[in-house]
């Protein structure tokens, strides 16, 4: 009987370890989402809106999933360095300048990027900040 219980506990703990390993990325995603949201509220929301709806022609919405997908490697650069060229979002051209946010560390950029690309109807999944750091080194 005792042996049975010990075996049971052993098997159970192995299963728990496997499940938690599989969910590490899930946990990271949740972390990034919650920290990213805080950064979004503090730095982005005033122009891009609570639901990523943008502001007139002054600030584009963040709901154009196609744009986000096509510019995946460029998003981190835009978040950190701002943008000073016209972009087309949902078929509409936006010409206003976006300010830079040099105070954001790579991890902050990664978290807010993951938040944006997985909110407002977007679903692009997790990007690790190591990868985002690489994107940031290759900014134009």
């Amino acid at each position: 009987m005792r042996k049975y219980i010990i075996n049971f506990i052993f098997v159970l703990s192995v299963i728990v370890i496997i499940i938690s390993c599989q969910n590490q990325q899930q946990i990271d995603l949740q972390n990034y989402m919650s920290n990213g949201k805080d950064i979004y509220v503090a730095k982005c929301q005033n122009c891009h809106g609570e639901a990523g709806e943008g502001l007139g022609e002054l600030a584009p919405p963040l709901t154009d999933s196609t744009f986000l997908k096509n510019n995946k490697t460029r998003l981190a650069c835009i978040i950190k360095n701002g943008l000073n060229e016209p972009i087309t979002i949902h078929g509409k051209v936006y010409k206003e300048k976006m300010p830079a946010f040099p105070e954001l560390a790579d991890i902050d950029v990664a978290q807010v990027m993951v938040f944006i690309t997985n909110s407002f109807g977007n679903k692009q999944g997790f990007v690790h900040y190591n990868e985002v750091s690489k994107h940031l080194q290759n900014c134009k």
Partner: protein
Amino acid sequence: MNKITSSIAICLLSVALISSCKQDRKLPFYGERHAEVKKDAAGVDKIDTVYQTIPAWSFLNQDSTLITNTATNGKVYVADFFFTSCTTICPTMHRNLMTVYNEFKANPDVMFLSHTIDFKYDKPSVLKKYAQKLGVDGPKWQFVYGSKDSVYTLAEKSYLVAVGEDSTAKDGYIHQGYLVLIDKDKRIRGAYDGTKQDQVEQLKKDIPLLLAEYKK
């Protein structure tokens, strides 16, 4: 049975009292005030309270037309201070003010007046572009440009909103995000933080209250 009737009566009475109290709610007056002795129609001396008012001003608007305080005659209006290159509180303020604007769009007695504090860059043509991009067209919402001295003095002394240049601030200026409600007699009747949704909702409720004061 008698008990039930009387308790219902008490309930109805208190509801009536509470609702009548609400109807009587009047907006406060802000700023300095002093008492003045005036003679009424019968020639008797009466003490009257005189409240702070917005003095005369004249600025260029987004169409490069000179507009003055007479543009606000007979209107209740909301005034604020901003600048077009502001990336911090102004977008939120104007996003929220936009909802107020849309709600009172059809009311000819309501006006909006945004003053730029960026006297170096925000010339009328820049204001025009900004207004269009925000989605505002027409004279109901005026964006005005004036000298540093005239705008800053008006902001701090008359509208009681702090503004200033600050080289350490991200965009070069600092200012408070108040939306100031002015009545038809140019007195200050409310100040609402334009970055807070609940205060902007309060503004939407207070404008009709203020308009009702003049419907007698």
